[in-house]
């Protein structure tokens, strides 16, 4: 299996020897790469039974399951990284899934096709039809992608959910990559695929001079 460009970038975001959960792991391509290159300890979940079985038969820890129904079986903060690659746009409840990722993992890595790319904008503007591109090749009536969003939309959602974006990398249609920073306004125009490294804001425990325990990060978030 050839190594995908986005997988290579995901690998760079992950520290060696980490525990990684790959959601929608397919037949285990990314898992295999992470085990081999950075000695990651991996688990995977895949909705397609045939792909899941291929992964299992290759010796990876993969369970057949649905990202929207079966993530509740993983305990809080049980992985260093949870990866959701090219799948968020196919979720019925992407916001809930995103929250789940950071419940299970210390950090989440999310990649998605950017609907804000200039080619997509132009296609819709001039043809008046739902755009089709190399990354989004489906007709509207058969696409698995049910929630289209842009980099800006995603940044807004992260803000709303108190999620900090530790790093974001843009991939252009031609395979070039650059880091998305708030200063670069054209990122949303030229990115065909974006990869985000996410975590929660690191609240310092609030020390209150009572006999009560200090608030942890999670209780601070809940309030």
């Amino acid at each position: 299996m050839s190594i995908r460009k986005d997988w290579k970038l995901i690998e760079i975001l992950i520290k060696d020897n980490s525990r990684v959960l790959d959601i929608g792991c397919g037949e285990g391509g990314l898992i295999s790469q992470l085990e081999k290159n950075i000695k990651a300890k991996t688990n995977g979940i895949e909705v397609n039974a045939d792909l899941a079985r291929k992964a299992i038969a290759s010796g990876y820890n993969v369970v057949e399951g649905n990202a929207e129904l079966d993530l509740n079986q993983y305990s809080n903060q049980s992985f260093d990284y949870v990866i959701l690659s090219q799948t968020l746009q196919a979720m019925v409840k992407p916001k809930e899934v995103l929250t789940e990722l950071l419940r299970i993992g210390q950090k989440a890595i999310v990649s998605f096709p950017n609907f804000g790319h200039w080619k997509i904008r132009l296609q819709l503007l001039f043809s008046g039809k739902m755009p089709k591109t190399k990354g989004l090749p489906y007709s509207w009536y058969e696409t698995p992608n049910i929630h289209f969003f842009t980099i800006k939309d995603f940044q807004d959602l992260c803000k709303e959910l108190n999620i900090i974006i530790e790093k974001s990398i843009a991939l252009t249609g031609k395979g070039r990559q650059f880091e998305i920073s708030p200063g670069i306004s054209y990122a949303n125009l030229f990115t065909s695929e974006a990869i985000f490294l996410l975590s929660y804001k690191n609240f310092e425990p609030i020390k209150i001079k009572t006999k009560q325990k200090s608030f942890s990060r999670n209780s601070a978030l809940a309030s």
Partner: protein, 383 residues
């Protein structure tokens, strides 16, 4: 300790017998069996560093004849399509050990064997046993064979229960578990079916309070009915419809009587009759009871006890079948969920088939592929 273990070949049973004398097997019930024996078969060759041993645990009415010809039935072993040279569990590569379970009736200590202490047939005097007890006895066998670590423990149904129990009681002795169509605990519905089977046996006048061997009778009818009931639970509505439908047996019109008019009746009667020739009624009582008592759920869901278990290194493969209503997917998935909750190495797949619980014994290419792939790729990892 080795002094009291004696392994010899039994020509009548065409298998090996390991006799453990002066070792007392303390059962879950606190009763001890002081002299016991395990009948088992092996296939393939144990490699130099003893890293290729696979223990196969049989289901309720299985035996040690997992592959090759069963000398009692003269038919192929119960999993010969899965186990053998160049089969998914390849005996050219792995060393297979398949013991008859404690309480069984193919040569291992069980109700039809002679109690070494009294020199009488155990019969109903045989103590109640559990899945844990079976595993404990198997562990003595593995120790006797000087195998420190099993590459895998594999089993379906009652065999799956044993495999799971192995990972709880002796996690340090296993690398991989293949658990097919099992559960954390035996469900109320399954206990109910077993109870009907046991009642059929115990209400047969020839059962004689369990002393039928001494009285020279066989509770054939009761055991056959028990088997017929159980056999229904191993199939599925769809498979029965596909295989038999409402087709009549050797007749064109219904008889307006209680003969086996329908093919399904004739089939079940045949299953019942042929079962009597190869299985002991008391064994059936004890083994169904052992399954009923099986419940590891309580221990598993205990979040303090489980993480302490030394099973972090074990790769679990859990397999279920869509049409299995005896050990349905949901019950298998409960195990997966708990293992995932505790961050263990777990794989799970549900195979689509209409063949019911018995699917694991039948032609299911997807099952073959996944078992073969899982074993071989994990074997390559450690070698």
């Amino acid at each position: 300790m080795n002094k009291s273990i004696n392994i010899f070949k039994n020509f009548e049973l065409q298998c090996l017998i390991a006799e453990f004398s002066d070792i007392s097997l303390k059962l879950d019930s606190s009763i001890k069996i002081n002299n016991f024996k395990i009948a088992y078969k092996t296939f393939g060759t144990l490699d130099a560093n003893k890293s290729n041993a696979i223990l196969i645990c049989h289901a309720l009415t299985g035996d040690q004849y997992v592959s090759g010809i069963n000398p009692i039935t003269k038919k192929d072993g119960w999993w010969s399509r899965m186990v053998g040279p160049n089969k998914p569990i390849d005996t050219n590569k792995y060393f297979i050990i398949c013991p008859n379970v404690l309480g069984g009736c193919s040569g291992t200590t069980g109700p039809k064997e002679i109690n070494m202490e009294t020199n009488l047939i155990f019969g109903r005097k045989f103590p109640s046993i559990t899945i844990k007890d079976m595993v404990k006895a198997q562990n003595y066998l593995i120790e006797a064979l000087s195998i420190k670590k099993l590459f895998a423990v594999v089993g379906g149904s009652m065999g799956a229960m044993q495999a799971l129990q192995w990972s709880i009681d002796f996690p340090e002795k296993i690398n991989n578990i293949i658990h097919i169509a099992g559960a954390l605990k035996h469900s109320a519905q399954n206990i109910a079916f077993h109870e009907v089977g046991r009642q059929a046996i115990m209400n047969d006048i020839n059962w004689n309070m369990g002393s039928y061997i001494k009285k020279n009778t066989i509770p054939e009818k009761g055991l056959a009915v028990a088997r017929m009931i159980a056999h229904i639970t191993y199939l599925s509505d769809d498979a029965m419809h596909r295989k038999f439908g409402r087709k009549l047996q050797s007749r064109d019109i219904i008889s307006f009587g209680f003969d086996a008019d329908f093919q399904i009746e004739s089939y079940l009667r045949y299953q019942g009759r042929s079962f009597v020739d190869r299985f002991d009624a008391n064994s059936y009582l004890y083994l169904t009871r052992a399954m009923d008592y099986f419940e590891v759920g309580k221990k598993f869901s205990n979040s303090i006890e489980f993480p302490k278990m030394k099973n972090q290194h074990i790769n679990y493969l859990i397999v279920s079948f869509t049409s299995d209503w005896l050990f349905p997917t949901l019950q298998n998935k409960e195990i997966v969920k708990i293992l995932n909750y505790f961050n263990r190495n777990v794989s799970f797949t549900e195979i689509e088939t209409d063949k019911g619980h018995d699917s694991f014994l039948l032609d299911e290419p997807e099952l073959d592929e996944i078992i073969n792939g899982f074993l071989n790729s994990n074997f390559n990892k450690i070698n």
